[in-house]
Amino acid sequence: MHTFRRLLFVVAVLALFAGLVQSQSPVVVTLLTHDSFNVSEDVLQAFEAEAGIRLEILRGGDAGQIVNQAILTRTTPLADVLFGVDNTFLSRALAADLFLPYTSPGLATVPEAFIVDADHRVTPVDYGDVCLNYDIAYFASRDLALPASLSDLTLPAYRGLLVTMNPATSSPGLAFLLTTIAAFGTEGDYTYLDYWADLVANETLIVDGWSEAYFGEFTAGSDEGRYPLVVSYASSPPFTYDETTDAATTASLIADGMCFRQIEFAGILRGTDAPAAAQQVIDFLLSQPFQEDLPLQMYVFPVQPAAQLPDVFTRFAQLPEEPAQVPAEDIELYREDWIQAWTEVVLGR
């Protein structure tokens, strides 16, 4: 009995030591992500304590920029895990062979529709629909009807009201470009480029990134904002929930064909020196706590159907019935050409 107790004591001391050692020098995993990445500190700390990992968050710009950075620093990677590449930029990342395949156990419960890469080089984490958000008070106070279609945005009534993003740098910006491509096509009398020319003529503001547009230029997102229409997500309105009125100050325009579904992925960067810890981080991104934290941190929907949505989210986040469709293979083939053509028409004016 004494021997057993002694053994127990030794094990306990060793465990304590191991715990101490681990808490003193946790494995550091660097997560390369976009500027809009956010996670609750308590959710993150719980994961760090449990896994013995310290997660350092490296925000490298917008989604397009972080993919480019990851490609340019392939030989000596900036980070171990990349989060934030979406279905519009995915093929560029996969073509550059950025990621190590990994099948997370959490993937089993994720709906098939989100699993775009059969080799599991990237893992879907969240999704949202890129669409127009509007400042409810602005339109109400001016008795201005809401735009009912994309074409309406070129009418004089909506002159100088819309702020959107450069598709070369911003993934929601690219998603909105794809929405217009689905709506107006690339051939014929009136293509997406003609539409964009009209948008620019109607004094649409174009900025580099989503956070700049939403928090810098949108009337409901910033005190300094001057634009009551912004390209954002159908799941953004919960962010503007106002307790005093028990309502959101913004809403989305989700008519058929006015939105584009975006899925965000994470992947383990080739060249990581902590592949096991990186896998744990991927598991964490699919775990219940992170998935349930997502909606109010990044205003997107979790891919795990079992994740409980917060009340404000179910009330004010919208899911469009028929998002715009652009075949994935077309995006892969023509993305660069479309962006170049857009650049030349829109920025060349």
Partner: protein
């Protein structure tokens, strides 16, 4: 030196180094050539190669896109157009300014002329932040107007317009033009003008028929110089212009890092280089015409007498002072008062912190540390290579003459082009440096090297050629000749060169944006990141960092001016 030796051997000895053992001397002197070949010529050739053969086979689609697309033609037209407008406005303001400095004597005249060069050492990100703090939407003028006129919105909307780009370009180049024209004008004989006056020529005719033709060489040289500077404008256009305004520089950056269209970026870089070399040829030609007849120098400056003269003087001084002091002062004030009712150090204190939800990977203060380390390494590298280069050029052998031109090339190669060259050239062993922090001081050294060499050359040439042989005759060892004769004589120039290298590195933005990693960012890159983010804290921190960088650069300026007042430097 032994004059009886055969000529060839003699030349060999001279080139290898006065007193330095021949072979060792030659090897050391080759260092700058190797450095330049590896980190300048090779990346540039890589761009050339890439623009012609993006995937290893000849493919001119990048050029075809540039030529056929109205968009890129517009970029070129805009680049030239904004440079021409900037030049025009700069000269239009600098000419009356120069007149004031040539004709009138007033208290503080020399100090003001010296101070007018301050913008020259201010990094573009600092100047962009300063003008945003002065006349931007969140700036001082707007917040004053809003509180005085009780407005809800900022009335002055200059951000993302051509106007603010032109204003900043005038700020940067006013002193360049002013100094060039003043120096030339002050050395012109006043006799021609006196004769014209005597014959009844006055007013506009005096300007049009006498003064402007007389000043033609200076005006042309100033115009070309200002044109070159504004033609390659990058940081100012990128930060204040927004996505709709793109010079060739901004377009190269945008194509390479955002659109990821490297062939088009390479083709644009080539167009840019070709245009720059053309401009440089024009400038060197004009510079030769600027030779000054020192014999006829007569001081004609006097105190202003009539009321109109006094008004003219006051107007010009006011413009100068406003242009010079308002933006830095606004920057300082705004960093202490932005979004706050009373002065606060809050944004400075934030610089030490790094909350996990910050868009920066390290606390902003780390960036200051990074920049200081990079700048010190740059200083050492540039000084060592600069001294060796100066010795090499000073040899004045005919077959070495091309070296002089070669070492000036980095001066006219834009930093963005250099950064882009590193991006595509230095990614394979043995030069796989692209993702390493080492690459930053290397790039900065290249940008700084021409300044260091230009600071050292005149002093080196001024050392009497008899001094070294005399010392050797008296028994001095070669190292003693350097330690006790040459280095002391060069010391002031070394200080100027070192300070230039340090300042260039602290403020360098274009190349750093391409090669600085987000985990080891430099100060200007962090300021750029913060300026692009919404939120009062980000903007406030950007202003605070800009103030700190401005102080460092102003200090450097004082050191340079003090050492230069002893007549050091050749530009």
């Amino acid at each position: 030196m032994d004059r009886s030796r055969p000529g060839a051997l003699n030349a060999w000895r001279r080139w290898a180094g006065n007193g330095v053992p021949a072979r060792a001397g030659q090897a050391v002197l080759l260092l700058p050539v190797i450095f330049l070949a590896l980190f300048f010529l090779y990346p540039l050739l890589a761009i050339l190669d890439y623009s012609l053969r993006p995937a290893g086979v000849v493919d001119l689609s990048g050029f075809a896109r540039i030529i056929t697309s109205a968009y890129y033609r517009d970029t070129v037209v805009f680049t030239i157009g904004q440079a021409a407008l900037s030049t025009l406005f700069t000269l239009a303001l600098a000419l009356p300014g120069a007149y004031v400095f040539v004709r009138y004597d007033f208290p503080g005249r020399d100090t003001l002329l010296a101070l007018s060069a301050v913008p020259f050492v201010l990094p573009t990100v600092v100047v962009a932040a300063a003008f945003s703090a002065l006349i931007g939407e969140r700036g001082l003028v707007n917040s004053l107007l809003m509180s005085v006129l009780h407005l809800a919105d900022a009335p002055l909307r200059l951000e993302r317009t051509l106007a603010i780009i032109l204003i900043v370009h005038v700020f940067y180049n006013y002193a360049v033009a002013l100094r060039l024209i003043t120096a030339y004008w002050a050395n012109q004989s006043p006799r021609m003008e006196e004769a014209a006056r005597l014959l009844g020529c006055a007013g506009w005719r005096l300007w049009w028929e006498i003064r402007l033709p007389l000043l033609r060489p200076a005006l042309l040289a100033a115009a070309v110089l200002v044109f070159i500077f504004t033609f390659t404008s990058f940081g100012v256009v990128l930060i204040l212009g927004g996505v709709r305004f793109a010079t060739l520089e901004v377009q190269i950056y945008y194509q390479a890092l955002n659109l990821f269209d490297l062939p088009v970026a390479a083709a644009l870089a080539l167009v840019q280089m070709a245009l720059m070399f053309g401009l440089l040829l024009v400038y060197t030609r004009l510079q030769r015409q600027m030779s000054v007849d020192w014999q006829s120098v007569q001081r004609v400056a006097r105190a202003p007498r009539r009321r109109t003269e006094k008004l003219f003087l006051a107007g010009n001084l006011l413009l100068m002072a406003g242009l010079l002091f308002a933006p830095p002062l606004a920057l300082l004030l705004r960093s202490l008062t932005f979004a706050s009712d009373r002065p606060t150090l809050a944004y400075y204190l934030l610089l030490t912190q790094n909350p996990r939800d910050s868009i920066l990977f390290v606390p902003p203060l780390y960036a200051i540390g990074n920049s200081l380390v990079f700048a010190l390494v740059t200083l050492l590298l540039a000084l060592v290579l600069g001294v060796l280069t100066a010795i090499l050029i000073e040899r004045r052998q005919r077959w070495l003459r091309w070296l002089d031109a070669l070492f000036m090339l980095p001066l006219v190669t834009s930093a963005v082009t250099l950064g882009f060259g590193y991006l595509i050239a230095l990614d394979e062993p043995p030069l796989a440096l692209r993702a390493s922090p080492v690459i930053i001081p290397i790039a900065h050294t290249l940008v700084a090297l021409p300044f260091v060499v230009r600071s050292l050359l005149p002093a080196l040439r001024a050392i009497p050629p008899t001094l070294a042989p005399a010392a050797v005759t008296l028994g001095a060892a070669p190292w003693q000749v350097w330690r006790f004769i040459r280095l002391p004589l060069l010391s002031r120039s070394l200080v100027v060169g070192a300070t230039f290298a340090f300042t260039v590195s602290m403020g360098e933005f274009g190349a750093s944006l391409f090669i600085a990693r987000p985990d080891t960012p430099t100060l200007p890159v962090v300021i750029f990141r913060l300026l692009g983010q919404p939120g009062a804290d980000n903007y406030g921190q950007a202003l605070a960092l800009s103030v700190l960088l401005m102080l460092v650069c102003s200090l450097s300026f004082i050191i340079i001016e003090r050492s230069r007042s002893a007549g050091v430097g050749e530009f």
